[in-house]
Symmetry: C2
Subunit: 223 residues, 2 copies
């Protein structure tokens, strides 16, 4: 696939389009205009056309978008057809929740193995997946050559685990540890999912809302 550099903001909207198109598919909608898609997603039609124009021509003047075709195109752009495989490292609550409830398959990723250090967890099965001893991590990764590691270990162990994984050739780390990993630039793609950042952003917007309401109230009292 020939590639042009696309802004991170556009990339971050693609999964939202995918989600919306899945919903439309599920409710039997087979085509949609950029206007209607925009209305449902709180985006302007021109924003939507601009986003998609980064990847080629998907819509048709006067017809709009074919929902299934557009969904397939976006899935392809996101690499969902590349049969990525993943190992999960650290089966605490978060790791457990991901194995049990997160549909890796739905997003084109096959979870092939999971690891932990706790003796009472190693050897058990979660959601049909056997949990291996962390001691075997390097050997299993060497053998299975997963594309992605889902990193759910405790903070103090985050960088050591990442180092092992990268040395074994893992090219993508999905990082749940809330540690900014110390990784040489250009070696591995790290996608951080920082719960704290999300809560703090909520705090910002909530503060803004409260200030706006108080300002409005003060104004209506003539202060």
């Amino acid at each position: 696939m020939k590639r042009i550099k696309v802004s991170n903001n556009v990339i971050r909207r693609l999964p939202r389009y995918l989600q919306k198109l899945d919903e439309l598919n599920a409710s039997g909608v087979d085509r949609i205009s950029s206007g209607e898609l925009g209305r449902q997603m709180s985006l302007t039609p021109s924003q939507i056309r601009q986003d998609f124009s980064c990847f080629g021509e998907f819509g048709q003047q006067g017809y709009g978008y074919n929902v299934s075709a557009l969904r397939a195109e976006i899935a392809k752009i996101l690499g969902m057809d590349r049969n990525f495989t993943a190992v999960l490292v650290g089966v605490g609550n978060i790791g457990h929740a991901l194995i049990d409830h997160f549909s890796f398959k739905h997003y084109g990723v096959e979870l092939v193995s999971a690891f932990d250090v706790k003796k009472d967890v190693v050897g058990t099965k979660i959601g049909g997946m056997e949990i291996y001893d962390m001691e075997n991590l390097r050997a299993v990764v060497d053998e299975l050559k997963p594309d992605i590691a889902v990193l759910c270990v405790p903070r103090f162990y985050a960088n050591d685990a990442a180092k092992t994984l990268i040395e074994a050739g893992v090219r993508g780390i999905w990082n749940f540890t809330n540690v900014e990993l110390d990784i040489p630039e250009g070696t591995t793609i790290v996608e951080n999912i920082y719960f704290s950042d999300s809560l703090l952003a909520l705090g910002y917007y909530l503060s803004e809302r409260i200030d706006e309401m108080e300002a409005k109230a003060a104004k209506s009292r003539g202060v």
Copy 2:
């Protein structure tokens, strides 16, 4: 606080600044130049100055930033000094992980109560916090008036739970359900933490990297 509209990209960087300043504080650094801060965060000095200029003048020409003072300013901007309170709704794996391992206090939020429907969970304590029956959600929220609800319920129940919370006056929802909540605009701030979007973005960047490497390899073979 007087407010100007600040772009979402800037807001999303603030927690990263906070994290970095905490690290600097912990390692005894008490002042830092925008150049050095930029180097450590992979941002340009002018980007950093521009981000902070949205909120006033923090640095000093030739001196740089006072780490503690800047940290305090950013914490304030993020609403960390507002004593926000939160209830957690749905103590499955994710909810459990948040109660056990996520330091709400560190981010200025007090977790005051948690709820579930499962009879074997209700009445037990997790991390010192008693889990209440979901039946009492409305009554408890009416009484405690939390600012934030942390929504960790199963998908099918997400919108019902959100409705109850909003009717009871909750102004912010931290949404872990992966459901785009159907909420009237302007009533409640919703901060979504979509695991799927994060994994899909990783898939995009990984695909991009792989394509680049293959293109390079093909070029070096003279294809």
